[in-house]
Amino acid sequence: MPLHAAARARVLAAVRKPHNWTRSSDRIRDAAPPAPGIRSPSAVVPSAGAGRSRRPCGAHSMDARAFARRTRRGVVRREVREAHGGEATFRRRGAPVAKEALRDEQATYVVPDANVVLHQLDVLEHRDVNCAQLDRLVICRTVAEEVRARDRRCYRRLLALVRDPARRILTLHHASPTPLPRESTNDANDRAIRDAAALVKEVCGDCILATDDADNRRKAKQAHLRALSTLELCALVEPSLSDRVCRHDDDGASSDQVYAPHLPPQELRKGVAAGTFTRGVFRATSAFRGSVGDVSIEGSNCNRALDGDEVVVERVKEAEALNEEEDDVRLNVGEDLRTSMGRVVGILKRRPVEVCGSFERSGRFRPLDRRLPRVVVEKRVKDTDTRVVVKIDGWDASSKLPRGHFVAELGKRGDQATETTCILREQGVASGPFSAGAMGCLPSPDFDVEADALRSSREDLRASVICSIDPPGCRDIDDALSCTFSDGVYHVGIHIADVTRFVESDSALDAEAKSRGTSTYLVDRRLDMLPVLLTADLCSLRANVDRLAFSAFVDVDEEGTILETRYARTVIRSRAALTYEQAQRMIDSQDDSGVGASVRRLCALARVLRRKRVDAGALALASPEVKFKLDREDQPTDVSSYQLYEANKVVEEFMLLANVCVASTLAERFPALALLRRHPAPPLERFSDFLEHASRKGFSIDASTSKSLADSLDAATDPSDPELNTLLRIAATRCMAPAAYFCCRDEQGEQRRHYGLAAPLYTHFTSPIRRYADVVVHRLLAAAINDKPLPPAYAARDASTQLGRLATDLNRLATNAQRASRRSVALHTLLFFAKKPMDRCDGRVLAVRDGRLDVLLPQFGVEASIKVDGVVKEGGLAWDDVVVRVFDRVVVRVAVAKRDEDADDAVVLGLVEPAPPRSSGESVPPRSSGEPVAKKRRT
């Protein structure tokens, strides 16, 4: 039974406590009083007949006090609102406050209604704005309950607000409203809040009821209460707060409609059921262009959908969807016309959007994210040189653009720190300190590793020759290797930091690590998944100290066949923490010290393993990687591509080996629970453009299987152009979907394969310090070897479902972290070129599209596009008598376009060789503005 465990626990708790049900008002009224000497609770003695049944009075499941509540996962709870009789009481952070004390306080309290809390929480919180008057709020129980029922996220914020010791917020516990005859629940709630305000006025002498409902205000004024809308309230207490008010425009309804109205939910449902409509998530490519699945949508057909919204679309005929000028553009570019066009007919769910950006001269807010349209924001002072956060509140059919309200100011535009904050905020990367609860789970810094290892009877490997190989300056060392050789068999030990010894399942620390999902690496800083005590000290397998490890022992023969695998929890002492460069020197030398010999053995075996893997069809993929040198102020002074040694490949090879071994162990032992990683085989048609470009360069690439792709990529070399092979690999990599975590139960057979590594099963085991997936895998593996039982959460009935969700979450967090680090690289690239513009720089063309060349600067790993007036012809961009094709060499000039009010700094490339057409500009268009025009309205 997949009933949610928490729901059951609640019921069982209710059942276990006898008073809970004997007290219940549903208990029958005429129950016989317990006869003396009879054991309670079996006190009911039948008075007549062999048996009878009684029904309690008033015990309907849907009476006024009981109601149903659902959770996302489908649990339907019966909740009973306790009738709160007697006098209303005030509390402050849980402690009762006497009315006399409030009378003496002589202060004006503000009583917000539920809608004010739900929509204007930014005002009530008034972060970084000093406003003593709004620190005095009274939150009625009715309000809190309504907020809780309507928006959990908002409710959590409200709770945090109420508990904030810096404020003087009261909660009012008062009688639940009972609707009068012919009065709706809403009206009853409003009345209860007005009564509460009257009570506050009586107790404190003064009170302001904050409500955005004009009717409610009118009724309050009849009752001689002071009632203000949020805007009026802000004007009264702190005018600067009025910037943060979320505005509902009702007055625009009568004016001209820019967009077709959205259809009512029933029609959407019918349409989807009948197949005339399609539902899906709208993915925008620019402000007014995007797609839902394979249906592309443009201009006013987007009908107010924002990126990430769940929408319902209707397919439309080509002619209907395009106007003439757009037609021309499409024919020119020769864009793929096979995809069908559509228009949005309804929005099912808006993604909550808080966006970073800045104000334009025109006063509109321009999000950094180019996929979002400009936003209409009311603010008195709009400084165009500040980064601000804006929340998008809604989009009326009468308005060309969505409206939002100001949330926070982040700092000066173009400033490194400000822009980094923007990146973290937009990608939802947690950058704050760890919670006190999480820090409380940490062991003391002088944790005695040896004593702990003895207590838990770990295998003692401190005498073995073990070393770690990492980039220079690496502090979170999560893997170390050892290797001995005897009788033709390599005995490899892959030792991974034993993070789960310190991170107990379901502890506050575990919860925090889970919500972070992964460490995020930015150019100028690292955001850890775990507190630094663990990442840099207790878990880090540093040299010459005892450390706890989870080891995989793999015996491999000289042909690379795995003979045996074994796992154990161990205690190790690494002999040396080598850098790749140091390890490479050991590989190249004949040094016969313990570590040197071990590294050379590892290297020899890695070559065998690699050949074996490549023979099986593993791909050597590539993506441009950049490394910045930073000065003391974290300003980039130099940029270079990442240098790779053979030693890098050695470490990689053994990590793959450990991961593959662990994956097959887990899949066998926990077929429903194992957390694995898959890489879907890309459909062949995804390669078609790439294959065509490669063939124009004279290479025939066969992408039918990973093996044929790997072989043909290996063969595609040009002695006069060594860079070209890497370029081909980069382009091939971009044809593939990213790898993803999944729960073993959710995919079967071939779907579980890792295409790029040509492994039937793969997982992540080797970096538990910086990836949460590895932490989960460690726990499962510990249970698989009977070292430690499965944590309760993994043994629950719906564990597989939970794990599937966790996998989805981890995928999302990993993508966000990756995007954040890419954007950080882009930011630093910009800072670098702002200081050092270049007149001549070699570049390679990566893609050709609508009058643009996408160029990679291999020296820097930087990518940007150049606008060139040309026509797409024969797989290249042609102008005058030149044709530039994909993978061609070009020479460009690099500079940074300075920001003004309406545009941000941007790296701009200008074509030097071949000479651009005379009419061609050189800048990258800052953004395409495809705002629809009112006259082109369609219904």
């Binding site: 209710a14 007949g49 048996g51 849907m62 019966r78 998530v281 099912l348």
Partner: protein, 251 residues
């Protein structure tokens, strides 16, 4: 004549009370016996979830106060056994679990607690379950085209307003169980914990006196006595069936 003065095929008095737990959609308590012996008392509570298809599971827990510490294994074994038996009793009834739209339906869990045991455990347990199901009023729900998040998919259904009449369950197919003990070649109905028994047989009887299952709980029962037990069961079950199948109270 038995120690408490009953005839061989005379059952003890019993009492059923419904809707005793406010946090559940349906609940019942059944006491068999009572009086000085304390009787046998069971509690059943119905919690619900909406998911794909329909389902119903039973969980049985013995009150910790009755099974002293140290006797954990016996308690666990009994819990498991009763849960398995109760699960089997409900098999024919499962078809009556309401669906919601095409794909979705109710997933019910019946949580049972045995508060005291003085014989007739299966009578008390089956009556409590049947009465709890009969008293269940699930909130009305309908399949909905609802927004679902990308990350954690919410199930597409919506609960209808409180004014909508609730969904009730038919318990016709849900049986009550009567147990008969074989003592020296005769059958005794509804034995107490003090009465000795050579063998025990449980007979499940659904609405209308239809015998839907026979289970020899312990010992060996001669075929003739087994036939006799099956013949006697409908009469014994009739009052239990009547008392535990009351239609929900009118609103």
């Amino acid at each position: 004549m038995r120690s408490d003065g009953r005839q061989p095929l005379e059952a003890r008095e019993f009492d059923i009370e419904t809707n005793i737990l406010v946090q559940c959609w349906g609940s019942a308590r059944c006491v068999v016996g009572g009086g000085l012996g304390g009787g046998t008392e069971c509690l059943a509570a119905v919690t619900a979830q909406i998911g794909e298809g329909t389902a119903c599971g039973v969980e049985v827990e013995c009150s910790p106060s009755l099974w002293a510490a140290g006797d954990d294994r016996a308690k666990l074994a009994l819990q498991e056994r009763l849960a398995r038996e109760a699960d089997a009793w409900l098999t024919p009834w499962r078809a009556a679990i309401p669906k919601i739209g095409e794909k979705l339906g109710w997933h019910l869990v019946i949580d049972c607690i045995i508060l005291s045991d003085d014989g007739g455990l299966r009578e008390a347990l089956s009556c409590a379950i049947r009465a709890a199901l009969a008293s269940t009023k699930l909130p009305a729900a309908e399949e909905a085209l609802e927004a679902s998040d990308e990350t954690t998919e919410a199930l597409p259904f919506s609960l209808l307003p409180a004014e909508t009449p609730p969904t009730t369950l038919s318990v016709d197919e849900c049986p009550v169980v009567v147990t008969l003990a074989v003592v020296g070649g005769t059958l005794l109905a509804d034995t107490t914990a003090d009465e000795p028994a050579d063998a025990m047989v449980a007979v499940a009887v659904a609405a209308g006196g239809a015998v839907v299952g026979v289970d020899v709980l312990c010992g060996a029962v001669p075929p003739a006595l087994l036939r006799e037990a099956v013949a006697a069961a409908p009469a014994l079950a009739a009052p239990l069936l009547g008392a535990s199948s009351l239609a929900p109270a009118p609103r």
